[in-house]
Symmetry: C2
Subunit: 202 residues, 2 copies
């Protein structure tokens, strides 16, 4: 999660052969993990879909867990933006900022894929759940909690996240109507005050 | 989802051999689906764990999807109680009633298992997601929405459910701290007003 890697992703595809191959493997991995979840995805399947040998996947990334972590990392560069957006503005509208950035990630097909991969994988596999806990909790929740002036700050941050996670589950993963097709602005209007309330209420 | 089947589960184990076998298969199915999720569970594995032949599982229940539906049905007899609890009391504390009954189901190991099976399966498998949508949405959400006097009643019911689903995900499925170990009363105190707000606010 360095500035270099974030910059690379935002820019044009790199010119060297190895960087191109690496990105192709990561694209294939995101596709596989988001469609099938962690357990049903294999390094072999990722390699096949990327048109390379399994050994090359291992060479670049190591174990399946490490491929997973690299593949979902693309969701965490924006996630750090969430954190910064939340931390940099005034606390009295932190709920709306947090809600808008999170739904921005889910509504964008590029970042939705790794998010789906994380959710689909974390509910069924302990290795993926551990990545989820480490990245979401350590990188995001604890830093947000650090800005709150409350004894139960971490619990508040997690209850706010839970509202967002729950909506994402029902809208993007299980696709229950009418929440799946509702206008995203309508959802943000209803959810942002709840997130704000959890973080700074009472 | 008949009164008969709910009554049978609440009472003593039935005396006839076939009913005993049927329950043993359902116990095994709940165990397998909740531990492994839908895709990695097989009728063969359920049969093995119940100590019966696969053909008997098919005989009693039919396809794997039908075994799944029967196995998670045990969570829906209480879910209908949720609905009744919600519908029978006054609207101005419906949020607390709904929140308490839902957390009651999750905190009870007997009903937590089928709930875990539903969540773990629905995020990765369309057949299980369809069971989730049919049972949760049709049986629960739409009926609750029917009691609300608001044009966006169904969306309100689902946003309330989303808060509960999100907390359940983080507390019981992915187990993020501190929400996983927090006192359930502390969580109910914070979540109930949010559920109430979604259902009847503004």
């Amino acid at each position: 999660m360095t500035d270099t890697s974030a910059g690379r992703r935002r820019g044009r595809p790199p010119r060297t052969e190895s960087a191109g191959t690496r990105d192709r493997i990561l694209d294939a991995a995101r596709e596989e993990f988001s469609e099938r979840g962690y357990d049903k995805t294999s390094v072999r399947g990722i390699a096949k879909s990327a048109g390379v040998d399994s050994a090359l996947v291992h060479h670049y990334f190591g174990t399946k867990e490490q491929v997973f972590e690299a593949a979902v990392e693309v969701a965490f560069a924006p996630a750090l933006k969430v954190r910064d957006a939340v931390l940099e503005g005034p606390l009295d509208n932190v709920g709306e900022r947090m809600t808008r950035v999170i739904f921005g990630l889910w509504e964008n097909p590029v970042t939705r894929k790794p998010l789906l991969a994380i959710v689909r994988s974390a509910v069924n596999n302990e290795a993926a759940a551990s990545v989820f806990r480490r990245l979401i909790t350590a990188q995001l929740m604890r830093r947000i909690a650090g800005e709150l002036d409350a004894p139960d700050a971490e619990l508040r941050a997690e209850l706010a996240a839970a509202q967002l996670v729950g909506v994402a589950m029902m809208r993007y993963v299980i696709k229950i109507e009418p929440i799946a097709s509702a206008d995203v602005e309508q959802i943000i209007t209803r959810v942002a005050p709840v997130v704000q309330g959890h973080l700074t209420g009472r």
